[in-house]
Assembly symmetry: C2
Homo-oligomer: 230 residues x 2
DNA sequence: AACCGGAATTATGCATACAATTTTTTAGCA
DNA sequence: TGCTAAAAAATTGTATGCATAATTCCGGTT
């Protein structure tokens, strides 16, 4: 009979659902960094037994989303400044790669779409509409990733970006840094339109510095309130 | 009381042991790609119950080492040419980053150590001692990673390298490509000694191409025998 | 003889139960 | 009153058992 080992039929298994559910709880702030997460509590919240829950906890721990202390339960991983300092260079390398690949693979339609997003974002920038700006900003970077056409790259980048996203750094960007970021985006678009891979890679790589500083800023101010909670 | 939330005490938990044990079984070839892995069998082999085993399987699946088919058990993930084509650019970006960071952080002692390894490897090259060459080759890349001083980078790179390592590509490198790789290593050492970060990054990035081709070569020839086993 | 359909078997998914470790409470003592 | 220690409670780690889905095997049919 004809086996299909290459296409294992991706059905939405209950298990991934739990993992994603807990991840969302963490990203949405229902579970706060440093907070202890008793299994019993999560079981009741999610209406499941401990067995599948614990399987999910193990997966989340291997992703770095949770910390698992032997015999002492799970806690939401706290994002330290050291973590951030390690994460951003890696994200920079990955995002740089996305730029390189995107230059090679982008169709004219892709570039047109990015151009549209860019100018829409620029509009939000001039209007000082933070939330809207950041929403489009994220879309642009996701689009570049998508154009790069490397699923592994997307997975790894999203894994890191997700961990960062908990720190709501949006509000903390200064207007000076914001202008700078917007200027960098002009260069991003220009490099992409010129399909200048090395240049785009370099810009994207450096572009993250703004984000890095903003995140660390949040950590500094936010860390204290967390201490109190713990 | 003095809490220590920053230092969660890394004791060797049983779970990680199981995960590492199964990973080793896969990397060592005890479990072959595409092979179905019945839980019962592994339970008896490892002398444990299904519960902790299943937790380990979930973790390995999230790493990409295993494929988990809902209601149909686990199988060792088969490395396809497409997978390799996605993995190598990412590994290149990560290795490039390691070079950049290493240039910035390497002490003279680090460089001396790498120089020693390099010339030892060169000797094995001239003697056509494949296994010894590759052993040192790996040590060099690991050392550069270590010097870079970014644990996350190491973790992510090792995760990918581990998946590749199953394909025993060592034997398949042609002598032409081997010479090429050795020449690149000369450049690697030179760039590091000059602490030329961009150059080292670029060389390391390109250097992987040899490895990529060798791996794909193995996959082509090796895939057929796997088919028969399945 | 080959193909289709259904029962028996097997394996997986989940829940519960038991064992071991940690944390908290409480009793005893200096 | 404050500290130590032991016992109780709670929580995690592991094993087992039941329910469900998938695979296999067997009999019937065309």
């Amino acid at each position: 009979m004809d086996e299909t080992p290459a296409t294992p039929i991706a059905r939405p298994s209950l298990h991934d659902t739990i993992v994603n559910r807990i991840r969302s709880m963490i990203y949405d702030g229902d579970l706060k960094p440093g907070e202890k997460v008793p299994e019993k509590m999560l079981c009741e919240t999610l209406g499941i037994s401990r067995t599948p829950l614990r399987e999910a906890l193990k997966v989340l721990a291997s992703e770095g989303t949770l910390e698992l202390l032997p015999n002492r339960g799970a806690r939401v991983a706290r994002l330290t400044a050291e973590d951030v300092d390690e994460m951003f260079p890696v994200m920079g390398a990955l995002e740089g790669l996305s730029g390189e690949l995107a230059c090679a693979k982008a169709t004219d339609a892709d570039i047109a779409e990015l151009r549209a997003l860019h100018y829409q974002m620029a509009l939000h920038h001039t209007r000082a509409e933070r939330a809207e700006y950041f929403a489009i900003n994220q879309k642009i970077h996701e689009k570049i990733m998508a154009v790069a056409g490397n699923d592994l790259l997307v997975t790894m980048y999203e894994g890191l970006a997700g961990r960062i996203r908990r720190a709501r750094y949006i509000s903390s960007i200064t207007s000076g840094r914001w202008d700078e970021a917007m200027a960098e985006h002009e260069e991003i678009l220009a490099a992409l339109e010129a399909r200048d891979a090395p240049r785009l890679a370099a810009i994207l790589k450096g572009h993250l510095r703004n984000k890095c500083e903003a995140v660390k800023e949040v950590l500094r101010s936010d860390g204290k309130s967390d201490e109190a909670a713990a």
